[in-house]
Symmetry: C3
Subunit: 311 residues, 3 copies
Amino acid sequence: MKLPSAYTLKDIAAIINCEFEGNANHIITGLNEIHMVEAGDIVFVDHPKYYDKALQSKATTILIDKKVACPAGKALLISKDPFRDYNKLVLHFQPISYSVKQISETATVGKTSILMPGVYLGNNVTIGENCVIHSNVVIYDNCHIGNNVIIHANTVIGADAFYYKKRVNYFDKMISCGRVIIEDDVEIGALCTIDKGVSGDTKIGAGTKIDNHVQIAHDTVIGKMCLIAAHVAVAGVVVIEDGVTLWGQAGVRSDVRIGKGAVLLAQSGLGEDIPEGKTYFGSPASEARGKMKEIAALKMLPDLIKKLTEE
Amino acid sequence: MKLPSAYTLKDIAAIINCEFEGNANHIITGLNEIHMVEAGDIVFVDHPKYYDKALQSKATTILIDKKVACPAGKALLISKDPFRDYNKLVLHFQPISYSVKQISETATVGKTSILMPGVYLGNNVTIGENCVIHSNVVIYDNCHIGNNVIIHANTVIGADAFYYKKRVNYFDKMISCGRVIIEDDVEIGALCTIDKGVSGDTKIGAGTKIDNHVQIAHDTVIGKMCLIAAHVAVAGVVVIEDGVTLWGQAGVRSDVRIGKGAVLLAQSGLGEDIPEGKTYFGSPASEARGKMKEIAALKMLPDLIKKLTEE
Amino acid sequence: MKLPSAYTLKDIAAIINCEFEGNANHIITGLNEIHMVEAGDIVFVDHPKYYDKALQSKATTILIDKKVACPAGKALLISKDPFRDYNKLVLHFQPISYSVKQISETATVGKTSILMPGVYLGNNVTIGENCVIHSNVVIYDNCHIGNNVIIHANTVIGADAFYYKKRVNYFDKMISCGRVIIEDDVEIGALCTIDKGVSGDTKIGAGTKIDNHVQIAHDTVIGKMCLIAAHVAVAGVVVIEDGVTLWGQAGVRSDVRIGKGAVLLAQSGLGEDIPEGKTYFGSPASEARGKMKEIAALKMLPDLIKKLTEE
């Protein structure tokens, strides 16, 4: 999330009432989750295991639960509870306000686009030209839909990320302040979910086609001209390059990358990156040709064991 | 289902026009499917294979298709078609009446709760304080939602159980008369289904968080502070204890129990109980460490077979 | 799709402005995708690999991208782009017109049927007697629902087929002009999708029961009294005969046939036909008894490898 304007370290420390290390006039321009950080951003970290990653990330301000050596040119915000204070900053800069109108007054829709009955558009939603948004589609606040986009009935765009911190007696919810960006010429099936980014954007690239019952989680970025079949579930912070095909009921774990033109076969469960152009299969998924050899070998195994036992 | 008041054996026999065995004034207070029975309940049984289970269950009245020896302190209702007569009793005590208003007049909503546009609330639905029910959520009759609950768009709470008896030429539907109970601090994603109990309650325990596209079937009871990822399908009459995690696209067969703090990895298909604290994987699922060894061994199998064949 | 009346070869060639081979008065009565063709139909083909299949199909007119020898009694339409011209004909005979009313004026509903709030019915939709259509169900144009049908909340009937031709820079969408036919006594769970046929009908046979989150793709034909559990995904042009059971999260590839009374176990991925009465399991699925032996053998493999390595 970009802040509405530049703030100083001192300003931000005052909002969350915490100490800081570094130049009081150090500039802060954004707020992001670790996978999405850029220069100017605050990132938060609350476990020693991830201190180095946060301190060495592109973020120039680190909201941290311990006074550590501050990297050159960066600043620290020292908080007893960085997760809580990160959420506090999110709500400070982007307060939640539910629009209970069917179409928010701040939503805009291209003149040639068709909204079918029962469609809900939240605050600041934009829809381009020549779109068809079918009945009962729900688009949460701050989502942006390009031109020539078709979204089938009862699909939900921009629901919150499934992201919680475990406390002793409850799960503490990360407040999602990101968006969903749907580029031009995308078609999305019925009953799909595309969650908003935690702090960045979930993106569906131009010309990509998505079948029914597909789940795309927070901050996942899908390239151009991909094909995603029914019941596919893609976890958060995944990168899918252009021209990728995901077949039916496949699943993709968070934080993996699928190279250009790669294919994930039906019902596969992907837990690692796929290089460009490769085809993967299985749960857990591996390169398909090797996997097919395993499957053929497994068919021979009962007889093999019988033979070895009889010897 | 509890009956509105206590009835005698004779009263109930009159409603379904059948013979009975036992004290005409024997007291009946409820009606339940075999998995959910308590003292005071009627249970039905129509296959000799299950006679003993029904007769020895906690139910004190057995609706049965044959005159058998009546256990001490219990009573029998002798019916040509116990399934039909069970449904007849359900409809007698809880007639189906569809509320065609967007929000039924008998539904109640806590003052601080927000209902977004397109939400449907059936008869006798209750929603606590400080909830957000997103657009187009549908809550069927007799479901109860606690405080601080968030339900994302287009989710359906309280649809009928998928439960039929096969007749020669058709499937005979079991009439669901149970409820859904969602406890405090639960969050449910978009496009989820939580079916009502057949005769008891489907329950989601306090603080549990559920991602998008999740299916929880009838009479399943989920504990506190569980995490259920996207596209998980849990069948009916499952017990999930506190602190359990089910990863994406996992499936759970009916009538199994998952122990406290256990984990079911992504895409696993569970057909047996998981003991407390264990991690399971695979389809069919077994203890994860053993499963990982099988997967590693399978990768070696093609070469092993080649070697053995060449010898 | 049947044409509104009989047309001549010359008439059709004029609509798409192309050359033809054969009798100018050769009669054309329909337009169908290759899997659904009958005598009187036009079929299109644009790849030499499929020329023979199209020329020898039941279709009596072939829309093709090359002048080839015309089979006796048939005719050819010679087009630079048969896919584009097929779509052009579909739109000529069945122009898309979105009804933005909640219930189209051309929709008809049996007197004893109940429509709950938020239901959308498109153009020419028909619903029989004694149905219950739950809240927020969306039924696209030209779908037909029989008598005694229950459709649970937020289900979508008749969305477009997921069917595209890959062009150099975009996916070209096949315009779906087919229908969905739901026969009598069917029950469909919440949050299901049943897509319309590309040019023919997607059918759900009488008495079939479908659980929640099920996907049935274009032109798939399901027989009578089938049971389909939650999260099942059936691809396009599949034939499922009477009395078949598909358990939870199973997937079926396009263009396969499942024989009468067959069973596909949970989470299986079917890529081939199942003969009548057989039970299949696994991903990829094979006959269940053999598959269970493989699973048992795999459990022994780690120890077997250890033993062979130690020898």
